[in-house]
């Protein structure tokens, strides 16, 4: 009996991500959820700009490549064009969603667009070589903050889930991570719920995944996963930040 195999919604193309990059794990979780909900034929994914720019090579469903940060706007268009027959998700990094695409993200959330957003937060710009991102931690050394991020000069990191939870619009906001087996299973539950919300027509669902970037953090893959526990989670606490349906049911 096969206990575990590559999900059908992932293609056989070898991923270009660095060794130990957790993008691969999140790709697989999304693909597993697409398989489990049997929605591969009607799912349209929106790829971002960033490391996951070539996500369209890895998913078996239809994919669109959006301009930098504009994935929620493209997703809005796709979803509104045919809301009954399409399941639309975007897969975005922190440089894409929390920096250049902040306006699109906030307004999509405020409008409660019925889309699913998978937000990868690795606290750095990966593809361009490790520059400081809006989510880089205070004191974090990056290419553009060689002495550590100084909040007096560069401001403070943005906590996207907390910020969006203040809006009336969004249906579901949760922050998860994938640095060990237990957290991977929790992350899958959250991603599944985000897709199920869309199928049920509940509205905007965003899952923030705290992710590792061993190459640009300058660590081994193992040390990077530990760094998530030690440094990232204290600043970005895991948990559900908004779940409107569950709250109304109380």
């Amino acid at each position: 009996m096969v206990v575990f195999d590559k999900p059908h919604a992932l293609t056989d193309v070898p991923m270009h991500y660095c060794p130990g990059c957790t993008h691969g794990i999140v790709h697989r979780l999304v693909a597993e959820v697409i398989d489990e909900l049997s929605i591969e034929g009607k799912t349209i994914g929106i790829a971002p700009v960033g490391c996951s720019v070539m996500a369209y090579n890895y998913f078996n469903c239809d994919m669109i490549e959006a301009a930098h940060g504009r994935a929620p706007a493209v997703a809005t268009g796709v979803k509104r064009a045919d809301p009954e027959n399409h399941i639309v998700f975007t897969y975005q990094g922190d440089g894409d969603l929390a920096s250049i695409g902040m306006a699109e993200t906030v307004h999509a959330a405020a409008r409660n667009e019925n889309i699913t957003i998978i937000f990868i937060n690795n606290a750095i710009y990966g593809m361009t070589g490790g520059q400081m991102a809006p989510t880089s931690l205070p004191g974090q050394v990056t290419q553009t903050s060689p002495y550590g991020r100084d909040p007096k000069l560069c401001g403070y990191p943005i906590r996207v889930c907390e910020m969006l939870s203040e809006l009336e619009g969004p249906e579901y906001l949760e922050r998860v991570t994938v640095n060990n087996v237990k957290n991977v299973k929790n992350a899958k539950k959250a991603i599944k719920k985000a897709f199920q919300n869309q199928i049920d027509g509940k509205g905007f669902s965003l899952v923030e995944v705290i992710s590792a970037c061993p190459t640009n953090w300058g660590m081994t893959p193992q040390a990077a996963l530990k760094w998530i526990d030690d440094k990232m989670i204290p600043y970005y606490p895991l948990g559900v930040y908004k779940d409107r349906s569950a709250k109304e049911a109380e």
Binding site: M1, V2, V3, F4, D5, K6, P7, L10, P14, M15, Y17, C18, P19, G20, C21, T22, H23, G24, I25, R28, N180, V181, V184, K185, P214, T220, P221, Q222, L225
Partner: protein
């Protein structure tokens, strides 16, 4: 008995599976090199594997198939 199958040529040798294995059965093969030029993961004692699939759960490249 559990059986692990590795798509060795897609392995990048990150070692996340090695750390995930509760029975410490996996290692990065020091004497093998795959098509990509990485040392791939391998199982040292296939008979002791219980097929928990923790290694496959943590593998970013989805190279491990677990049968039980």
């Amino acid at each position: 008995m559990a059986k692990l199958t590795f798509k060795t040529d897609n392995c990048k040798g990150c070692g996340l599976c090695v750390d995930a294995c509760p029975k410490h059965l996996l290692r990065i093969a020091p004497d093998k090199i795959n098509k990509k030029g990485h040392h791939p993961a391998e199982i040292t004692d296939p008979d002791a594997c219980v097929g928990c699939a923790f290694c496959a759960t943590m593998c970013p490249d989805c190279i491990i198939k677990v049968e039980r």
